[in-house]
């Protein structure tokens, strides 16, 4: 059997077995170890443990539990309540204003946290019930929360970009900065979409009633702006020491987590219960991700042994004779399709090592070191889309666990589509104008 056939067989077996609903890490790990034993006999049994040792050396992944912990402390101690209230009051008079406020809330949370879990949890506990109570359309609400929370992996800090940096051997600092402007651009596009859609169809997102707006005087409004100090403080205490090189990436995430705990203590909301839930959920979520990454690294090691990188390069460059841009577009499309059905983190770990070396050799009119930074941002947006597209996506999965029963699975699935459209538009813009991503890191690090 040719190596390409083995690779295709491994992918399709994985896909079929996933459908049985067994735990994702088990399915991926099983396919990997069986393939290794079958291909290399007794030489293949150490492969899985080798992956565990490799994972140990992925030092920057230590940021993962820190960000998860920070996210849970924030949502459990309801630190974002005041923030939500601020946006609520300021954006109430605009069509779809509360949805727009939710997106902006997500932007702030994304600037404090590197995962989409935090935004998801806060969105589902604070924004969701409030928006439903005010007769916002169900699909609009779930779409806003899913799309908004996915910004968490694009706006710095970002754990997905950390993972990418490990794989592409690119500097994390530059990648994070590269994600900032595209992240804000995407948020702006979401806002425009919501504003336009609710302007045309006011029943989707009704304006806050006049009497309710009159209750809040201007001074109160200004005082509410103070809530914005918290995310600003957390963001700055993390990013300033990191960009200046005073603390390492991982150490910065610890500082961020501790400042969040400090804020919760200061507001007298850091109860024993908050501590217990946050600590336990951090273990649960971190273990879920780490075991999937472990299994995916094993899978990737088999691909490595098969020489899959060269096979893909041979297929795209020699056999199909595609141009650099065609290859890039094809890679994004294939990733989007795989992201629908397979686990998104596993895809990142398995597919990125195959694509990154190829991207580095493509002539797209950018310097070699910048291509990988730019591609990291493209990759992250593709990953965001994969989080949202059914049938498999973390945001769909988490959303289902967190929403009240009146929101049906159908609503959750359908709600994602307009936002996926906006994200694809952002992806195209970024491909056409790489400067959107590259300008900031160049300005900061280029001197």
């Amino acid at each position: 059997m040719s190596h390409e056939m083995i690779a295709i067989l491994m992918f399709s077996t994985m896909l079929v077995m996933m459908m049985t609903g067994q735990r994702v890490f088990g399915v991926i790990g099983f396919v990997a170890v069986v393939a290794a034993l079958w291909l290399w006999g007794t030489g293949g049994e150490g492969l899985a443990f080798g992956a565990a040792m490799k994972l140990m050396k992925w030092y920057p992944l230590l940021t993962l539990p820190m960000f998860v912990f920070m996210g849970y402390v924030m949502s459990e101690s309801r630190l974002a309540d005041d923030l939500y209230r601020m946006f609520h009051v300021w954006f109430g008079p605009v069509p779809g204003g509360l949805a727009i406020g939710t997106i902006l809330l997500m932007v702030l949370i994304s600037a404090m946290n590197g995962l989409s879990v935090a935004g998801m949890a806060i969105g589902a506990t604070i924004a969701l019930p409030e928006l439903l109570r005010r007769n916002y359309d169900k699909q609009m609400v779930t779409g806003v929360i899913q799309a908004g929370s996915s910004l968490g992996i694009l706006i710095p800090p970002s754990v997905v970009l950390v993972l990418y940096a490990m794989i592409a051997r690119a500097p994390v600092g530059q990648l994070w900065l590269a994600g900032a402007i595209p992240g804000l651009m995407m948020a702006a596009m979401f806002v425009i979409y919501i504003w336009a859609r609710c302007g045309l169809q006011p029943h989707l997102g009704p304006v806050l009633p006049e009497e309710e707006r009159a209750e809040i005087d201007f001074r109160h409004k200004v005082r509410l702006l103070g809530a914005g100090l918290l995310p600003l403080t957390i963001f700055l205490t993390m990013m300033v020491p990191f960009v200046n090189g005073w603390t390492s990436l991982v150490e910065s995430s610890v500082v961020g987590a501790l400042v969040t705990v400090g804020a919760a203590v200061w507001k007298r909301r850091f109860t024993r219960e908050v501590f217990e839930t946050a600590t336990r959920n951090t273990l649960a979520i971190s273990c879920m991700f780490m075991w999937i990454i472990l299994a995916a690294l094993t899978f990737g090691a088999v691909f490595d042994g098969l020489g899959a990188v060269r096979a893909i390069e041979g297929l795209f460059v020699d056999r199909l004779a595609l141009s650099a841009w065609e290859i890039l577009i094809l890679m994004q499309l294939s990733y989007l399709v795989m992201g629908m059905f397979l686990d998104d983190t596993a895809m990142l770990v398995i597919v990125a090592p195959l694509y990154v070396p190829l991207v580095a050799t493509l002539d797209l009119g950018l310097p070699r070191d910048q291509v990988l930074i730019w591609y990291g941002v493209l990759y992250t947006i593709t990953c965001q889309i994969a989080y949202l597209t059914p049938p498999f996506g973390y945001n769909l999965f988490l959303m289902r666990a967190m929403t009240p029963p009146e929101i049906r699975l159908r609503d959750i699935y359908l709600s994602a589509f307009p936002f996926v459209g906006v994200m694809i538009l952002a992806l195209i813009l970024l491909m056409a104008f790489p400067g959107i991503a590259l300008w900031l890191p160049e300005t900061v690090y280029g001197r």
Binding site: G21, V250, C287
Partner: protein, 174 residues
């Protein structure tokens, strides 16, 4: 269900719960190590009589590995490992149990190979006193022993989940 099965599930679940609860708090050990690391680094930059620690980076890696490997069984127990639930999500509990009872074999095979490789590698580390090639040069066998133990506990937990599924099919609960 036979008495031994019930006893097995009780013992293994209880053990993994305790180990998992212990691992849960390693998060704060991790924070402490990393804070110490940046404190000594900043201290020496400012000219204070401290040297930047050599051991923190590797120690943090070891603690992280212990965190997720020892915490794995407990997190499986509380059901936080993600599944592809396109079909699975809509099934009845009985049907879920039937499928799980068969597909748990996937998890068992993966974990068995992991344990096998881990024991092999640990034996090598102990025999040759393997050290990490770095400035601190820590021995590698202690962390490998922890990894072996964690993978083994994960295996035990999977068997426990299998027994629970069998019980669910029979209509009883353990």
């Amino acid at each position: 269900m036979p008495r031994w099965a019930i006893a097995y599930v009780r013992v293994v679940d209880g053990l993994n719960r305790r180990v998992g609860r212990f691992a849960m708090y390693l998060l704060f050990v991790l924070m402490g190590i990393l804070l110490w690391s940046s404190a000594t680094k900043i201290g020496s930059d400012l000219g204070l009589p401290v040297n930047p620690s050599l051991w923190t980076l590797e120690m943090a890696q070891f603690v992280m590995v212990a965190y997720y490997i020892l915490g794995g069984p407990y997190s499986m127990q509380i059901g936080s490992h993600v599944r592809m639930d396109l079909l699975y999500g809509d099934w009845s509990p009985a049907r879920k149990a039937w499928f799980d009872a068969f597909t748990i074999v996937l998890v068992l095979v993966f974990l068995s190979v992991l344990v096998y490789g881990a024991i092999d590698s640990t034996a090598y580390s102990i025999q040759y006193n393997e050290r990490n090639p770095s400035a601190w040069r820590p021995y590698l066998w202690p962390i490998k022993v922890v990894m072996c133990a964690g993978f083994l506990l994960m295996l035990l937990q999977s068997v426990s989940l299998f027994l629970r599924d069998i019980a669910a099919i029979r209509g009883v609960e353990i």
